[in-house]
Symmetry: C2
Amino acid sequence: MIDKLIDKIIALQNPTCVGLDTDFNYLPDDMRGDITSFEDAAERITEFNMNIIDKVCDIVPAVKVQIAYYEMYGYKGLKAFDCTVKYAHGKGMTVIADCKRNDIGSTAGCYSKAYLGSTELNGNKLKAFPADMLTVNGYLGTDGIKPFVDDIKANDKSIFVLVKTSNPSSGELQNLKLESGEYVYERMGALVREWGKDTIGKYGYSEVGAVIGATHPEEAANARKKLPEVFFLIPGYGAQGANAEMLKVCFDNRGLGGIVNNSRGIICAYRKPEYAGMSYCDAARAACIDMQQDLLTAIGKMGR
Amino acid sequence: MIDKLIDKIIALQNPTCVGLDTDFNYLPDDMRGDITSFEDAAERITEFNMNIIDKVCDIVPAVKVQIAYYEMYGYKGLKAFDCTVKYAHGKGMTVIADCKRNDIGSTAGCYSKAYLGSTELNGNKLKAFPADMLTVNGYLGTDGIKPFVDDIKANDKSIFVLVKTSNPSSGELQNLKLESGEYVYERMGALVREWGKDTIGKYGYSEVGAVIGATHPEEAANARKKLPEVFFLIPGYGAQGANAEMLKVCFDNRGLGGIVNNSRGIICAYRKPEYAGMSYCDAARAACIDMQQDLLTAIGKMGR
């Protein structure tokens, strides 16, 4: 799946990902109306997401759907997550389910079935939330990651493991120095490299990627150097404070190696002065184009 | 919530938790029938769980509902999770949602709303999956945990943070030695202690507990010594290979300090030779009583 994503990034000259962290409160007033039930809220969120997807799918290669924003509306919210994942996929976008799942092997296997594989019921194989890529947390080590890697290989999927996250306190654990001289995030990165070593595609990147926050350029540059086959999912651009100059260290000398997520900066663009008067869809598209230009200026042509 | 759980553990003389990791394939043949849809499977799983809960709620203080086993049946599976959480709660059991959620602060806030707080829609506050306690992963550090701690304080809830997990490869990250001389799991434990310091209840335990696998007795004993106010959720008993002798180190000199989970050993007890001929409910109850005796023999009276 990583090759297909990179193909699209090169074709569109756009290494970005629209984050559908669709809080009900991000919807325009007229869509929120007087809704007070999870079911109705979930329907409006789905409608909002579909309209955004329609408007950006020809210029953006991927969406990242943050499941926490759907879980907070209960199982009805998860129906909206499901519809969003399937709709984006139907429009040709690569769908990253941002779930940061993690557990012991047998349980990680269930999560993998849910997002990357299928669940069998009396011989009938069904897909729960069929994404292309999934974020996971590697704190439990290899046996908690293996079920995902197995499904990656069987079904042409990818995962991104949390290595150095974008939040301010990520260093509390991730930047601890080990006796060996490595930092914890570097050790996690080395495990990621190991987990993906049999899955390297035509661009030299593996199906086991890393989440590397754009807000920490020093660690990002170090990770790019140490993990040459690891593709990065890069959060932190925009609302979290990182800019294109800070994250260009994540890319290789071909302008490849990462995809940059922006959530509120796109889906809430219609509330910003620079997009005043536009519909939420038009503002989202305009914000995508502006972001693309910003990244191209910093990173250069993709696939050069 | 930790005081209420410990009250129940003392009243029932039972520091155990029934793990409802209800894979559809764990159901008796006649319940599985020829079902091939998520919706039908979810209904049967709910029925199975309700019957187990009815049969054990007078002798067991808590259930742990492992959400991965519901996510693999899509949003219809999550309706079964929702029904199970609410039914167990209605029967007076403490409900631990085993979700191991984790993210940056704003997103962790959504997860916290989903399980420990409430979601507001135009002024109407609704609960998504109203659990009493939630498992979380602390790899992102303090700002990813703070939203949970805020809801704990506001709504009388608890969390368990992964410290030393029960799986074989947990040591790959968790047992790395830091430059400071501490192990990574010890540092995570120290953060857990810090996160819970304002929430210590009448038994001396805080609302921010730790997941400590029974399969690693040396680390468990060390964690008990270093984290005197931290209550432990202890997986690994039974199917994963740990026994009562291995996990008694998790308890203090009053026989308190932890709750031991058993999933397959109880919900699949009806398949074991020692419970042959019993219904799945009767076998589950018998297995709970056997486990209680086993733990009491090793740990001694609770609340002595």
